[in-house]
């Protein structure tokens, strides 16, 4: 494959999965419609054809069953990568994820390892019906025993999915569904950064803006607009939601003195709450303004014709930047 091709995020994930499957025969893919159909977002396109029905498994329609049997397969030495079709359908598997997947390593005093990846297409903005636009990362980030990451671009998608599969711990892997078809350069030969490190995607001076997944692009656009108004935003892609890369965040906030956290999930107990609380604790004397949060409202995700209003956008990010600067 030619290096530095331009690739969609979905295709990058597909390439990453393929590469992981080629490297390790224990890697399996499981889920609803992941086989012939290649998944409703085509992330597993062609994999069943090339790796067979034993390694790319169309399962019965039961998320708890999928995660529960994936745990059993992991106990036997496999490395299952589970696809949850849409964010809103992970809840039937919540017990298996929270009570079993997250806790079994601890329960066994370290004897048992469950290198299972749960892939979740996340977030709104695609005009879908109910349950197809949820941002539920806070549930899993609050759950000790899990690691939670979110990719925001093709290159990260390609590497992070492989790193997640290679992780000996269970990983909940978020894919920004409305960015699946966005293209960017991907060099498969590049050396990836560690899975749990954040990245400054745009350096700046006045306000730090932290986001992840689908909101990274929104924040970058906001930074472009802000620049025209003479405001320099430092945009950080958190990438890892649990654990958080606090050193990088704090280093930035210590320079800028201001932080805005942006995500689609409702603000109340969303990831921004933890970022705000922790950064404030560490950087209390550096902060010129309270950490401000931009996110979804405290509402069930609204019908599609309202999602543009519901979701944080460039203007709401800039509004928060303004409010931060006003302190």
């Amino acid at each position: 494959m030619s290096a530095r091709a331009t690739t969609t995020l979905a295709k990058a994930l597909n390439m990453g999965l393929r590469s992981a499957m080629e490297r390790d025969p224990k890697v399996l893919i499981m889920g609803e419609d992941v086989g012939k159909l290649g998944g409703v977002f085509r992330v597993t396109d062609g994999l069943q054809k090339d790796f067979g029905e034993q390694r790319v498994i169309d399962t019965p329609l039961a998320e708890s069953g999928i995660v529960g049997t994936a745990i059993g397969l992991a106990l036997r030495g496999f490395r299952p990568v589970v696809e949850i079709q849409f964010d809103g359908f992970v809840y039937p598997a919540f017990d298996q994820i929270v009570s079993q997947l997250a806790k079994m390593h601890a329960r066994s005093l370290g004897h048992v390892r469950l290198p299972v990846v749960v892939r979740i297409p996340v977030g709104g903005g695609i005009g879908a019906v109910e349950h197809h636009s949820e941002s539920n990362e806070a549930y899993f980030a609050h759950t000790a025993g899990l690691r939670v990451v979110a990719c925001s671009n093709p290159a990260d998608a390609y590497f992070m999915i492989q790193q997640a599969i290679a992780s000996e711990d269970p990983v909940v892997f978020y894919e920004p569904k409305r960015r699946y078809w966005e293209k960017a350069e991907l060099d498969p030969e590049a050396t990836p950064m560690p899975l749990h490190e954040a990245r400054v995607v745009r350096p700046g001076e006045h306000v730090t803006v932290a986001a992840y997944g689908p909101m990274v692009r929104t924040c970058l656009e906001a930074a472009t607009v802000a620049e025209q108004e003479g405001r320099s935003l430092e945009v950080i892609d958190l990438r890892s939601l649990s654990p958080l890369d606090l050193p990088l965040l704090c280093a930035s906030v210590e320079r800028t003195g201001r932080l805005v956290v942006v995500h689609e999930a409702p603000v109340f107990l969303g990831l921004g709450a933890e970022v705000a609380a922790r950064v404030t604790e560490r950087c209390f004397y550096s902060l010129q303004a309270p950490v401000l949060r931009v996110g979804g409202f405290h509402l069930p995700y609204p019908p599609a014709r309202l999602e543009e209003e519901y979701l944080p956008d460039l203007d709401r990010v800039l509004d928060a930047v303004d409010r931060s600067m006003a302190f």
């Binding site: 159909l37 359908f89 349950h131």
Partner: protein
């Protein structure tokens, strides 16, 4: 043929010597299928399900079938034209839905999935509501109690438990009505659906579990959900299951009526498997050519649920061309009205999303509403202050 064999399947009663657990379980061949109207439009009798239908009733069913198919076609067209976000077509499942929907008494209560447009029709829900839902105007705008028709449930299987609980409530009240829970073949794999079987059985709830086995759960064929015919699932839970020709509106009507009657009489739940076929894509977002052969569809076209009723009506002289033309015209009119009304549907006002998260006042919601309102007014006053490239 006795009903017991239909209910319990035709498992061999004896096993090969030397196999203490009998022969390996496998597909039990072609299980019996209750049918009252052949694909060719011939009326046949079934000893257990005698059915009297007047010519008028039959014409009424035909009209229902044609109208809901027309609604469906129009909705698909609207989606193609960008007016709906997505549409889940009922194409091929009209008889299963009209037959069961028309079996319901006014006081019975139905719990649909996202595909029960035909049942919605029978319950008097304006199809415009369904278009509005798939357009993204709301998640379910009708008053369920006005129609005894619950909201569409999208999370596979969840409604089976709601139906069961509702049925338990009917029993407690001593009400003489029944509940019908709709779900698909794929849904039978969900824990919630199986828990519903357990609760309904243990509490003897008046529930008809109506499974439209349309052979596919998106791209997954039935073999991914079960090795045996689905109606046999019920026997593991202690209540009867039966397979009916889901493309035969009369058979579905008769069997559903009997099952509802059973429920109302305090005899507990019944599982009805309506054997049918999803003639279209899973939804307008789906591409079935990736996973199934066109020839399968061709076979099922010969069993079309509407054609057979038309053939029967025509052959028996219960309807003439004028009738068929009138239904066609009514369908066109309905479609035109729906298209017009759909295009005229106003987008909900931004602040309306804060209306119903809670019944009672909630300070956080109130605060967010106020702040967002103020934020929106700033833009309204000074649109230039929006830096957004995406127009609001």
């Amino acid at each position: 043929m006795t009903m017991a064999s239909e209910i319990e399947g035709s498992q061999p009663a004896h096993h090969a010597a030397g196999h203490p657990f009998g022969p390996p379980a496998g597909p039990a061949g072609d299980p019996p299928l209750v049918q009252l109207l052949t694909p060719e439009g011939e009326r046949v009798e079934h000893p257990d399900f005698p059915l009297e239908v007047t010519a008028e009733e039959l014409r009424g069913l035909y009209r229902d079938l044609v109208l809901v198919r027309r609604v469906d076609t129009e909705a698909t067209a609207l989606q193609r034209q960008g007016e709906l976000g997505i549409w889940a077509s009922l194409l091929g499942q009209e008889a299963a839905q009209i037959g069961s929907g028309r079996a319901l008494a006014p006081d019975d209560y139905a719990f649909p999935t996202y595909r029960e447009h035909g049942v919605a029709w029978c319950r008097g829900v304006d199809p415009l509501n369904l278009l509005a839902l798939f357009r993204g105007v709301h998640h379910g705008g009708w008053d369920p109690d006005e129609h005894n028709f619950h909201l569409y449930t999208i999370v596979i299987g969840d409604q089976a438990l709601h139906a069961t609980g509702y049925g338990m409530g009917l029993t407690m009240e001593g009400a003489e009505s029944a509940v019908i829970a709709y779900f698909g073949d794929g849904a039978t794999s969900q824990g919630d659906v199986n828990e519903a079987f357990i609760f309904a059985s243990v509490f003897n709830a008046p529930v008809v579990f109506f499974c439209q086995n349309n052979q596919w759960a998106i791209s997954e064929p039935l073999e991914r959900q079960s090795k045996i015919p689905l109606y046999q699932r019920a026997r593991g839970f202690g209540f009867p299951g039966i397979r009916v020709d889901g493309n035969d509106v009369l058979a579905v009507l008769a069997v559903t009526r009997a099952a509802l009657e059973r429920a109302r009489a305090g005899e507990g739940p019944t599982f009805v498997e309506a054997f049918t076929y999803r003639m279209g894509a899973h939804t307008t977002s789906d591409d079935p050519t990736r996973y199934r052969l066109a020839s399968e569809l061709e076979t099922w076209k010969l069993k079309d649920p509407i054609e057979r009723v038309k053939a029967h009506l025509a052959r028996t002289g219960q309807a003439d061309t004028a009738f068929f033309a009138a239904v066609e015209a009514e369908a066109d009119e309905l479609a035109a009205r729906l298209r017009h009304d759909c295009l005229a549907l106003p987008d909900p006002a931004p602040l309306s999303m804060f209306d119903h998260p809670y019944v009672e006042p909630h300070p956080l919601v109130a605060e967010e509403r106020e702040q967002f309102g103020a934020y929106l007014s700033r833009f309204a006053e000074d649109p230039a202050s929006s830096s957004s490239t995406e127009g609001r």
